[in-house]
Structure formats: structure tokens, C-alpha cells
């Protein structure tokens, strides 16, 4: 064994690598093209959200939570508000629950389309990337129409939602569903269920057997692709989802076999696109009239939360899997004692690292992409800027200064002075 060790090659994939959208590091030990060992190193995208949150009140954290990740921005503040609602015992109006369902499913559609494109790109099939991202524009437009923003739509508020879904939105959403049903989905199915190139590359690549998926607590499409019938919307009896008939989607219903490979994970995503569209239609149909916020005024809400003292867990099936937020309140303060979250990518990453052993190096990017990693979700824990004397770490301020100097050097004529935009963080100065 030791004699062979010399022939093994250690290949770092990351922190910067074209196959990865976000910085993470996989140290892969190779014997030829075969993988022997995978080690994961995280923390390249550490922003210290939990630490920042110690200095924010409940409503400010809502917007911080949204910025954990750009893709699942709705999921994060939805789950956070659910945790706070459970902690403070706030009851959400039913119409708000329906609006949350609709926006959540719209987000799932855009996230899954994004991931289908990314997987196409990692196997060198760029046409899939460009066309599926083109199709994704439609749902982004709808989200913009509802929330006012393509990415951080800020629909949620603790105890309800901030934006109503009116008649014109309903019409636009139904039009969009029709467009996806008739024009996009047949093509997506043709590519991901029947295309020989895709099948050749995705079948039997990055296999996560059911046993490993359970042992490593894989989540979301990664787990369901391995035949684990688990979906928080269904298991948790979340919100109004039971009325809408949401069930875990497994590849068995589409292809009849469950292998737990990348292909199956993609099949699950395609299935969930269909499911999301059905859910949206049903939700629009069943949505009752009524108010959309439990507490209309934010300061009244904060006052109510100040009195709350307890702990709450929010769980939600984000597009990538189970998302958990935990909030513990403290009496007399509008700041939670603890806010902690766990993203589906975190367990999935370790499950896939385990599953990659014995595979070919060509499967690494596609296997990593198949869990739809969201590293900015995973690396969120604490803020660090340590000067150990050995390394000089440039802060944002230094970089800005350097950038301004460079601009001056290139063009001394620049008259404009950099202006402070916005008020910044009001508590930042007091640190």
C-alpha cells in the first residue's frame, strides 16, 4: 500500500476552478483517472453572518437571511420567519401562506432550471446551459413583477408577506405555467430523459447508494434521487402544502429504476418542475381572500417580539433540500439570543465526497454540480480577519483605496470623488 502511494496524484479542485461556481476546495487523490480519496475544505466564502446577526434585530435579520444566498433567497427568509413565528407564537393568515407557497414554488422552478443548465455546462453541453437559462428568464420576470426584484424579492415578513398577489400577477403566472408546460418542458424532458450524450455521461456517475444517502443524511433531490422518500413539505405537514397534495418525487415514477446517480437526480429535478407547476396552479385556484400580515406595523411586531422568550425551529424544503433555521429569543431585547441555520448543501457535500471515491475524475464536476451546491449558503458562519503577522490580509477598505489609486494612475483627470452611498450599517461604527 505504501509503495503505491508515490504514484498517487493529489489534485486540488478549487478554491478557484471553472467547474465550481463558488469557492470550495476538494482535494482529490487520484490513481490514474480513478479517485481514491476526497477531502473537503470549506470557508473560502466565510462572511460571518451568525456573528453579524448578534448585532441585528429580528427584522434586520430577515433581510440578512435573504442575502445568505442569491438563488434560495426566498427559502432562507421564509424559514427564518417560520422559526421566529414558532418562537413568538404568531399565527400567519392563510392567504399569506398561499402566497408563500406560490413564491416558493416559483423559486424552485428557477433554481432547478438553473441547475439543469449548470449540469449541461459541466459535461460540455453548453447549448443546454444557454437554452435552459433563457427559459429561466420568464420565471425571473414573474418574480420581479411580484417582489420588485429578480433575486432578493423580500416577499416575506415575520407573520405574513409583504407583497400581495393580485389579479394581474395571477394571469401572468398562469401564462408562464402554460409557456413552460407547452414549450420548455418537452425540450427539457427530451434532453434529460432521452438524449444519448446526457445519458452516457450522467448514468452511473457519482452514485450515492440509498444506504449512504441515509447514513450521511443527504437532503432534497440528492436524497430523493437515491430513492429516499423524504420531503419536508410532506413530512413536516408544512404550511398549506398538505392541502395541495405535495408528495416526494422519486425517479421511480419516471424511469422505473432508482440508481442514485446524477441522472436520477436530474430526473427528480425535472419531476419537481412538473410538480411545482401543478402546485402553483392549485394554490392560485384555492387562495382565499384576506389579510396578508398578522401584524401590519413593523414596530408593533418588534415590540411583540421583544416580549417573546422561547425557541423555535423553522424547516422548509428549499430547492436543494431541507433547510433548518433555529431562533432563540431573549426577553426585553429585540435581538435574538441565537440564530443558526443549516443548509442542504452542507450534508450533501459530504455525501457526494463519500460517493466520489472509486469514480473517475471526469465525474467530479458533474457530480458536484448535481447536488446543486450553494456554497455561500454553507460558508456562513463567522467573520474573521486575522493578522497573524505572516500574511497581510487586505480588507475591503484597502482594496477600495488601491482601486481608487489605480484609477487615478490610469487617468489623473478623474474629478469625481467616491461618495458614500446609502447609510451603511448603522451599528457598524459602534463595533
Amino acid at each position: 500500500m505504501n509503495g503505491r502511494l508515490e504514484y498517487w496524484v493529489k489534485v486540488p479542485i478549487g478554491p478557484i476552478h471553472p467547474a465550481l461556481e463558488e469557492p470550495e476546495k476538494f482535494i482529490i487523490t487520484l490513481d490514474g483517472e480513478r479517485i481514491i480519496h476526497v477531502d473537503v475544505k470549506l470557508g473560502y466564502n466565510l462572511r460571518g453572518l451568525e456573528w453579524i446577526a448578534m448585532r441585528r434585530n429580528y427584522i434586520q435579520i430577515l433581510y440578512l437571511a435573504e442575502r445568505i444566498c442569491g438563488i434560495c433567497s426566498f427559502s432562507h427568509n421564509h424559514t427564518y420567519s417560520r422559526a421566529v413565528e414558532e418562537m413568538a407564537g404568531i399565527q400567519v393568515p392563510e392567504r399569506a401562506e398561499y402566497i408563500r407557497v406560490i413564491v416558493g414554488e416559483l423559486e424552485r422552478i428557477h433554481s432547478h432550471l438553473l441547475n439543469l443548465g449548470v449540469v449541461g455546462h459541466t459535461i460540455g453541453y453548453d447549448t443546454v446551459l444557454h437554452l435552459s437559462w433563457l427559459a429561466r428568464e420568464r420565471v425571473m420576470d414573474i418574480l420581479e413583477a411580484i417582489g420588485g426584484n429578480r433575486v432578493n424579492y423580500s416577499v416575506n415578513m415575520i407573520g405574513g408577506v409583504r407583497r400581495n398577489i393580485e389579479e394581474k400577477h395571477k394571469r401572468a403566472i398562469l401564462d408562464m405555467v402554460k409557456y413552460y408546460r407547452n414549450e420548455v418542458m418537452p425540450k427539457i424532458e427530451e434532453i434529460f430523459l432521452y438524449d444519448p450524450t446526457v445519458e452516457a455521461r450522467l448514468r452511473d456517475a457519482g452514485v450515492i447508494p440509498k444506504r449512504i444517502a441515509i447514513e450521511y443524511s443527504a437532503q432534497g433531490p440528492t436524497a430523493r434521487g437515491s430513492g429516499v422518500k423524504k420531503d419536508v413539505r410532506y413530512n413536516e405537514k408544512l404550511s398549506v402544502y398538505p392541502d395541495l397534495g405535495v408528495k416526494p418525487v422519486t425517479p421511480k415514477e419516471f424511469t422505473g429504476v432508482v440508481k442514485g446517480d446524477v441522472f436520477d437526480r436530474m430526473v427528480v429535478r425535472v419531476g419537481e418542475l412538473w410538480q411545482s407547476m401543478d402546485t402553483i396552479e392549485r394554490a392560485i385556484d384555492q387562495m382565499p381572500e384576506g389579510k396578508i400580515k398578522a401584524v401590519p406595523k413593523d414596530n408593533a411586531l418588534l415590540f411583540q417580539l421583544k416580549k417573546a422568550d422561547g425557541e423555535g425551529i423553522g424547516r422548509y424544503e428549499a430547492p436543494r433540500g431541507e433547510l433548518i433555521h433555529y431562533v432563540k429569543g431573549q426577553k426585553g431585547k429585540d435581538v435574538p439570543a441565537k440564530w443558526k441555520m443549516r443548509e442542504p448543501t452542507f450534508p450533501n457535500l459530504f455525501a457526494i465526497a463519500r460517493a466520489l471515491v472509486g469514480e473517475q475524475v471526469a465525474d467530479v464536476p458533474v457530480a458536484i454540480a448535481s447536488i446543486d451546491p450553494c456554497l455561500s449558503c454553507t460558508d456562513r458562519v463567522a467573520v474573521i480577519d486575522a493578522n497573524t503577522g505572516r500574511k497581510k490580509i487586505l480588507t475591503e477598505k484597502d482594496l477600495l483605496k488601491l482601486s481608487i489609486e489605480k484609477t487615478r494612475e490610469l487617468n489623473p483627470e478623474v474629478k469625481a470623488k467616491p461618495e458614500v452611498i446609502g447609510v451603511g450599517c448603522p451599528r457598524g461604527g459602534a463595533l
Binding site: A19, G124, Y125, D126, T127, L131, L134, R201, Q360, V364
Partner: protein, 329 residues
């Protein structure tokens, strides 16, 4: 033709092919972009890329050895030498008997020099890319050479001045045989050649050694600046030359005869017409192929060569041979 004119002509051809091959790269990128419903880069983008790369600093890794700098120069030199034996609508300038073998050898040498350069860079990505390039190199030449030499052997039967030379194709072409069996055989071999062409320029299924998302450009991972520019130019010329071979074998017809031209004007017209045919072949084998497919795994690609293309090539060759023997008997 005396040696001075030949040399001047050669320099002219080299300049022309460099431009044409870079232009094709631009056309290809634009076409792919349009098929993917993107706008795409401007037509002259490869020229801008090339000029920019030439002017940029070339970073040489600490662990690299001398071949790292030598390989791109040798690759470009090889591709220039290759032009002397490339059929470009007329018989190659330095064509002689048996020059097909030299042509195949030089074409393979470019790939081999890329491997040398990659191995010398000391980067693990480049090492894996080099391994893959080597495996593909070994697999892809078999079917192509079998097909090429069968056709040449068959054409020799019709009586040529220089056996096993590129000039053969301009005296007789393979469609002239005309018998049904030979036509079927030729169509099969055409298919083999198109697949070989795709793997030679590493697109679609065969974008394996440079797999951007897997190996971060693989063999080219450590190259930058002018060294990369030289490799880029060599690859572009190689694509043009490989397609020229396919054109010469299967579509050698010129148009100068119809226009009653002789001498230099005839060569120019034939060259332009040849370029058009090369672009058409590349459109099928490169642009469309890379739009509608993704990359295979290295094992699947070698499998494809040994279990699909080699038998296809054998069947095509056998059909041609049986046809020939049948004529004799």
C-alpha cells in the same frame, strides 16, 4: 516550378491559411452563439485574442522545464511544415510520392508536442490532460489511417503518377469508381473521417483533453501569453489542415477547369473554393457537432473508437477491397 517560386508560394499559403483558419474560428463561434440564441463575439474576435495574447506576458511555472517553452514553437513549426504537404485545392507544393505518410506523421506530431508541453509544465491538471490526449491520439489514428490507405490503394489501381501522395486525389477521386458497393463503402468511410476530424480538433464528444469544466483547459492549463498564442494558432491551422484532408479525399473537385483558368489564377480560385469546402466540412464536423453534444468520458471515447469507428472503418475498407477484387476476377 523552381524553388524560389515554391518558397514564395509557400509563404503566401502560410499567411493565407493562418488568416482563413482564424477567420473560421470566428465564424464558428458566431454560428454556435446564434444556435444557442446568444449574440456571440465579433467575427474577428480570434484575431483580437491572438494579438492580445502575443502582447501579454507569458508566465512560466517554476517547475517547468525547457520543453515547456520549446513545445509551442515546435508545434507551430510543425503546422507550417504540414502546410507544405497539405492539399489545398491543388497538388501540394512540395508533394512527392508517399507524402501522405509524412502528412499523417506531422499531424500526429502536433498533438504529441502538446503532450510534451503539458507534461513539462508540472501542473497536475496538465498531466491528466496529457494522459487523456495520449490515449485519444492512439485511439483515433487507427480507423482514420485504415480508411485513408484503403482509398489510396484503391485509387492506385486506377493508375497514378505518384503513388500514395496527396496528388492522387486530384487525378482520380473515390466516387469515380461508381459501383454501388464502392459508393456504400465510401459513405461509411466519410462518416469515419468526419468523426476523426471532430476528435482531431477536440470538440463535442472529444473535448476531453482540454475539458474546461473538468481540468481547467487540461493540456493548456499552464500556458499563457505568447506561448498560448502560438499553440492557438497551431491548433487553428491544424483544424484547417485536417479538414483539408477530408475535403481532398472526398470532395477534390476544383472549379478552375470550368472557368478556363490556368496557372496562378487557377490556383487562387481553387484555393478559395477549397476554403469554402473546408468551412462546410468544419461546419458539419465542428460547429453542429459541438452544439448538439456534450463531452464523453475518456473510457467512453476510447470505446467509441475501438468498438464503433474501427469496425466501421474495416467494413468500409472491406467493401472497397471486395469491389476491387470483384472487378479483377
Amino acid at each position: 516550378m523552381n524553388i524560389l517560386y515554391a518558397t514564395l508560394g509557400f509563404i503566401g499559403i502560410y499567411t493565407y491559411v493562418s488568416f482563413a483558419s482564424l477567420l473560421w474560428e470566428g465564424i464558428d463561434r458566431k454560428l454556435v452563439a446564434r444556435m444557442q440564441r446568444r449574440v456571440g463575439p465579433p467575427l474577428l474576435q480570434p484575431f483580437y485574442d491572438f494579438l492580445k495574447l502575443v502582447s501579454k506576458e507569458s508566465i512560466i511555472p517554476r517547475d517547468a522545464n525547457r520543453f515547456f517553452e520549446l513545445a509551442p514553437v515546435l508545434a507551430l513549426a510543425t503546422s507550417i511544415a504540414l502546410l507544405a504537404y497539405t492539399p489545398l485545392g491543388f497538388e501540394p507544393l512540395f508533394g512527392t510520392k508517399g507524402d501522405v505518410i509524412l502528412f499523417v506523421y506531422l499531424l500526429t506530431l502536433i498533438g504529441f508536442l502538446r503532450v510534451i508541453g503539458a507534461v513539462s509544465s508540472g501542473s497536475p491538471y496538465a498531466q491528466i490532460g496529457a494522459q487523456r490526449e495520449m490515449i485519444i491520439l492512439v485511439s483515433r489514428e487507427g480507423p482514420m489511417m485504415l480508411a485513408l490507405f484503403t482509398i489510396l490503394w484503391r485509387l492506385n489501381g486506377l493508375g497514378v503518377t505518384k503513388p500514395f501522395s496527396m496528388g492522387t486525389f486530384y487525378e482520380h477521386n473515390v466516387w469515380e469508381l461508381g459501383t454501388p458497393m464502392s459508393v456504400i463503402g465510401t459513405v461509411i468511410l466519410l462518416f469515419v473521417f468526419l468523426a476523426w476530424l471532430a476528435s482531431e480538433i477536440e470538440v463535442g464528444y472529444f473535448d476531453i483533453p482540454e475539458a474546461e469544466t473538468e481540468l481547467a483547459e487540461g493540456t493548456m492549463a499552464e500556458y499563457s501569453g505568447r506561448h498560448l498564442a502560438l499553440f492557438d494558432l497551431a491548433s487553428a491551422i491544424k483544424a484547417f489542415v485536417s479538414a483539408s484532408l477530408v475535403v481532398a479525399v472526398f470532395f477534390p473537385w476544383g472549379i478552375s477547369g470550368y472557368l478556363d483558368l490556368i496557372g496562378l489564377p487557377a490556383m487562387v480560385v481553387d484555393l478559395l473554393f477549397h476554403t469554402l469546402k473546408v468551412f462546410t466540412v468544419l461546419f458539419v464536423s465542428m460547429t453542429i457537432f459541438r452544439t448538439v453534444t456534450g463531452r464523453l468520458r475518456i473510457t467512453q471515447a476510447t470505446n467509441l473508437f475501438w468498438t464503433r469507428l474501427l469496425p466501421a472503418s474495416m467494413v468500409g475498407a472491406l467493401l472497397l477491397v471486395i469491389d476491387a477484387l470483384g472487378v479483377i476476377a
